[in-house]
Point group: C2
Chain length 387, copies 2
């Protein structure tokens, strides 16, 4: 194979952006087909994409066409798993937009469908290309920070106005997105939280507030507390209602603490690991000698969406290792599902999650939803500044 | 009255420091008596304090002496309320060290005893003299920040080694202190949390870990979540087990956010209050214009213990307003008691607190304590750098 032929299903906000990237910027990739049920989006494709790109309004026809080697799924979240399962059945490689899906039960079925196909399976976790989080992961996984003790992520700079929510009828509804800030804005942070530390909690207690700041039915404000097998704890705080908000991720360990904020990584490194100091110190109020270290981080946000597209293409062409394997999409989603479930049951949620219970309780919310927004129609927003 | 005559009961760590301050630094104050049951401490008093200072080994004799106008109570925490009640009965003014006590039921009795005596009642919340928190309170209470939405205090820089805990048999035991980091290190922050914002929660869900990092029976690691009547939420994270730790207090409101960290106050101020922006904005991803404002704060930590001593003295002599009225000691302690109770019951705790239940559950822990430390004897630590 000289070039990977890509078909995109879903050319709304993100799919449009990926279509243009694939046509212009990704070496070894070629856009050969798009599919969207919305006539407006197909008209856009007719006008803006080359004639060589086939246009489909029906997913069955799209999959049957064999016009591509790889399918990029950029539809609304709920459709990711079933469309991926279908793609694997047709023998395509699959790159799925984030989140992997809305509830882990469906995502688990997607992972099962992927297993043993010999096809590449990736997820658009473009923040994994960000040098800041790559370096943080390096410091934690290489043991520089020692055993992790506490993680505290305040990620409240996802400001969204009511007009944003009104720009699409599916937005911020149980039926349309299956959640709010956790499903739409935070999937990257929920992924990075466990990717940079290599740790998943054993249980979670979370406090979601639904429609607190906006006229929506899903969560727009969350505080979650997590406990880990090694005794570490974590806090994750997020909202779309605050401005300017904060994005500050602090990780502490036996050897000090690291803070990722404002694109910078600072490592307060203990000369002696804390447990060693404690075991030998005989005084009153002393503490271990600490060095403030500015950690060098490559500039910019990394290669982002194009980086993931290029990596996925290279994986197919040359066997390059995937930066964001699709199977890992379930991890961040598990955190998000657990936060909902803990709020709904007003109780702890232990992992592994009771996935059937979550699916049932989500369905209940969809069935009983009487929510109608002042729908401004499905407007395609300019997401060039989005993640 | 030209001078306020002070008697100090309890001349251990803090009492010693106050005795020296009163003798040397406080205008209009005079140290006339001390009381301590420990012969070592009385020997110290004989050697280091003027002969004019009466020394008592028995509280009854001390109170009966009428050798003072005001009593400063610097004994272990449990004794604060009963000793204060006794002092009020004798007609003395009372300045009590922090915390006000160990459980709010007893502290409420102290407040009742104070009411209507016409005597001054103060508490050693010396951090209220800190210009940083005074300015924060000013910005919040004057309305500059708008309606408060979120408070997030990471106060993990209270590092204490095992040798610290071993320096006193009473330290970090249910019977001796009635708690750990919440009772000994955090009373200032628990006070400032509600004093700077003027807000007490309606309910709390907390996660204390007991003896996690040290060989102690009380909590040395806490994450607490709080909800407020106006919908605001708060998180309070503390430990004595981390180095170097963090002291970062973030408060967000309708008009932006304020962060107090490293002795600096930064106010990210929105040009238009967020609710107003949201009501009129019609675009997609926009957010309110935000100005980063460095707020001027007077240098240093303020007048601290001496400031409280001076203010209390002036209140008696000239009717100066108390910066830290004793009756307010119950507020921070309520937060701390609620955090314990929520952990013990593994459930929400609504305020007002069930004070009898808390007292019962605390007593249970004292009765069932089988904890014996490697007691290094009761060493008097140098607390000159302590708060």
């Amino acid at each position: 194979m000289e070039k990977v032929r890509f078909g995109i299903i879903g050319i709304g906000n993100m799919g449009t952006s990926h279509a243009l990237s694939l046509s212009r910027h990704i070496q070894g990739a070629e856009l050969t087909a798009v599919c969207d049920a919305n006539p407006d989006r197909l008209r856009w494709a007719e006008e803006k994409l080359p004639d060589t790109v086939l246009k489909f309004s029906d997913a069955e026809d799209f999959y049957a066409s064999e016009a591509m080697d790889a399918v990029l799924i950029a539809t609304p979240h709920y459709d990711h798993p079933p469309l991926a399962v279908q793609a694997f059945r047709h023998g395509y490689h699959v790159l799925v937009e984030k989140p992997a899906g809305v509830y882990t039960k469906a995502v688990r079925e997607m992972n099962v469908a992927a297993a043993g196909t010999g096809r590449m399976f990736g997820i658009m976790y473009n923040q994994r290309t960000n040098p800041l989080y790559q370096k943080l992961r390096d410091l934690v996984l290489s043991g520089e920070l020692g055993e992790v003790r506490r993680m505290n992520w305040i990620i409240t700079n996802w400001y969204r106005s009511q007009s944003y929510y009104d720009s699409g009828g599916w937005r911020a509804t149980w039926a349309g997105e299956g959640g709010g800030v956790l499903l739409n804005q935070d999937p990257h942070q929920l992924d990075l939280w466990q990717w940079t530390t290599g740790m998943m909690p054993v249980r979670i207690r979370a406090f979601c507030q639904f429609g607190k700041y906006r006229n929506i039915e899903v969560e727009d404000d969350v505080t979650a507390y997590a406990e880990y097998e090694n005794g570490a704890t974590g806090v994750f705080i997020t909202t779309t209602g605050e401005a300017p908000g904060t994005n500050r991720f602090e990780v502490t360990g036996d050897r000090g603490k690291i803070v990722a904020e404002d694109g910078k990584l600072t490592f307060w490194r203990l000369r002696t690991p804390e447990p060693e100091f404690n075991a030998t110190y005989k005084g009153g109020f002393g503490s271990p000698e600490c060095w403030t270290c500015e950690i060098p981080v490559a500039g910019g946000d990394g290669s982002q969406h194009r980086g993931i597209l290029q990596n996925f293409t290279n994986a197919i062409l040359y066997g390059e290792k995937l930066l964001a394997p699709g199977e890992e999409g379930i991890l961040g989603l598990t955190l998000s599902n657990a936060m909902h479930l803990s709020t709904w049951t007003d109780d702890w949620v232990s992992l592994p999650l009771n996935e059937q219970l979550y699916a049932d309780m989500l369905n209940e919310r969809i069935r009983h939803s009487s929510f109608r927004k002042n729908d401004g129609g499905s407007v395609v927003l300019d997401v060039s500044g989005s993640h």
